[in-house]
Symmetry: C2
Subunit: 72 residues, 2 copies
DNA sequence: ATGTAGACTGTAGTCGACC
DNA sequence: GGGTCGACTACAGTCTACA
């Protein structure tokens, strides 16, 4: 699977665990909701600054964010 | 420290362990050498696709790449 | 072998709207 | 609540060149 999709899946997974809507996450991470949607669907090549913003908004470190089998 | 600098440091660290020059890495990752230089110096907001390319070129998974204290 | 600069092209990321 | 489209602006990433 492509890295963009893996990232999208991971964000969605963590967002649902935290019981946040895309709108909630977009607000917390100071990003656009339509953008969050396209990232979750693996359509965007997100930058590290925004990955970090999202990780912070989801309450995980980057280390935790990437600490998943699919990133091995 | 800013995330862009952390990424740059991590790339440089791994690159030196592998005893590769910036040119070697740029070639393996199919990126521009001047771009690698600016990323290592924390001046660029690199995208996930290019982080993955670099990780592959350095022989580590994304999980390993981010498995460092500074990403906690 | 690395840093940086300038000019260029492509795309990340914003915003409003509608389904 | 989430997906997507279109128009826009900002910046990622390329390439050449010189220190």
């Amino acid at each position: 699977m492509e890295i963009k999709s893996k990232i999208g899946n991971r964000i969605k997974e963590l967002r649902e665990i935290k019981q946040m809507s895309q709108k909630d996450l977009a607000y917390s991470a100071d990003l656009d909701r339509s953008y969050i949607a396209s990232v979750e669907n693996g359509k965007r090549n997100i930058s590290i600054v925004n990955i970090e913003k999202i990780a912070v908004a989801l309450g995980v470190s980057l280390k935790e964010f990437f600490n998943k089998q699919e990133f091995n």
